[in-house]
Symmetry: C2
Subunit: 365 residues, 2 copies
Amino acid sequence: MSALGDALLTLAHVVEPGDQRVGTLVDEIGAIEVVSRIHDGSIRNRDHDALKARLAAVNLDEIHARADAVGARIIARGDPEWPSQLDDLEVARPFVLWVIGSPNLRLAALKSVAIIGARASTPYGEHIAREWSSQLSAQGWMVASGGAYGIDAAAHRGVLSAGGVTTCVLATGVDVAYPRAHSELLARICDMGLLVSESPLGAQARRQRFLTRNRIIAALTRATVVVEAALRSGTTSTANAAFALNRPVLAVPGPVTSPMSAGCHHLIREQLATVASAWSDIPEILGALATVPAVAVQEQARQIDALDGVAARVFDAFPRARAIDQHSLLVQSGVGVKDLLGALSTLEMLGFIARIDDGWSRVRG
Amino acid sequence: MSALGDALLTLAHVVEPGDQRVGTLVDEIGAIEVVSRIHDGSIRNRDHDALKARLAAVNLDEIHARADAVGARIIARGDPEWPSQLDDLEVARPFVLWVIGSPNLRLAALKSVAIIGARASTPYGEHIAREWSSQLSAQGWMVASGGAYGIDAAAHRGVLSAGGVTTCVLATGVDVAYPRAHSELLARICDMGLLVSESPLGAQARRQRFLTRNRIIAALTRATVVVEAALRSGTTSTANAAFALNRPVLAVPGPVTSPMSAGCHHLIREQLATVASAWSDIPEILGALATVPAVAVQEQARQIDALDGVAARVFDAFPRARAIDQHSLLVQSGVGVKDLLGALSTLEMLGFIARIDDGWSRVRG
């Protein structure tokens, strides 16, 4: 990692997520200088003793070794896999992200939507979350959510059932299964999709971390869909963050007799959200917007650099004029199953390949 | 009836409801002159032969006798009981209305709301229509609807169960039970509330009459609430009429999986309607507006002229400082049961009296 990357990784262990005061200073004088000022005590900050104590405890070698041990990669601001949407958070953007999973986060986020909602969801809301996620996933959309009980879990499961890419943005470290009852779900997400967090490995659940995490879900994706929410709920914080970022917010209406739809109706009435009554409303509303990243993708597609090594190897293994099944791809490319699945997702999202019957085929263009 | 009243009543038999061409001419040269021009054939109109033939068949004595026979009164534009809201329809306003029922239509319409929706309603929509109508009625709101199957019927029934005043605006003559299966419901409405139509007695159901009728529901009331509606349904025509009249339109969201809520979601998404998620949203949205008629009512209240003879007699029968039950009122006022109920509704809506336990009491003020 570069000196800048090391400084950002250090700050991620020293500063609370979303701290705008330190974030502003980093933008002014740079991460390396901020770390140095924390070190020599010259930073003006009420918490400077705490910051200095935390800094003293940072051991970058250990941090990298621990990430390697759990199969996580660390992506710092400006790295090739950094999702540039997060820069819309400005001084509140994360310093680094820990990521587990094969797909390329930056590319996955180009055509992505957040599907979120209440933990105390109803069968109606869970049905919608599962169904819409599955449909959007089948159309090549990455679906992000927060891994919580209820709507979040239903959204992730809908994508998994469609064999697509789902991203779970955690409020804990990516190696912490939270809620514990979701360890199996999180394991499946990390097999097929991505686990993402700005909190260091081992970070436990804290109320404040859920609120700061919500801004990442909102910023990472092109639109946020609220499926069910009570009035004045945590879900509203993600919707508000998305609204503040000028991201479209959609809310799913439901029976007015259901308290779990009251938050959605409130968002609609206050014109903080538009009505979403079918999954297809989302690509429709994003229509004009969605073409922007598509163009960027096509440009990137011309540069082989846009593909990471594994994806390039897998793409090279494709025959020019006919379909190929997954087993043959494994043999031809020589990459592992998990890497293959990640590469296929990336290539599909970029429009290089398409599913055909039981296999895959290059897209002519 | 005056010569003007006779001319308007004649036009109601000769011209199709909502005919804006004739309506414009009436505003320009007056109803009496229009009748005279139809008579002498000097009116420029493609249909002038049909108009003349119909005019020849008009027998005012018979028309009045027939109205007396079915207990209907005829209210012409500008009559004391004419609901002035209808004048917002401008050249498309009715010439006259046939009305059956004790309450004063003009006063009832001052604090009124239309609750309408699909014939092919769901139990969810019927529950909402019944419950909200009942609650609004208990708060002194007159609820108008169209007497159709489904949501309309549920709205009327909700009011009846609360002992309030509901108005059914018919597309047929007020003496025609349509749909036939609703004869009992219509009989109950006309016992406790009002049947209203601009179509002559005996007029049968015609598709066009339902569309022209819808504009009366929209104009008569202060706001229109759409409880359930399919996409592109007749209900939408009432909502559009209300919107065109600058009346607030509210739509009740429902499950996105229900086709009967699709029309409501469409109205909300297109910002033709605001979200209604509780009955109390209606008085809230009408808040500022609702005080306008209230002030007018208070002014009228000071003039004994505002009360028709029966209401004045009933009010006089109230003791100054204590409550009185219905039986004592019957005895004291000497009016019939049906007249008494109508007068009580009027007096309650005007804020003269209030329900107390099993009886009634003057409102001090």
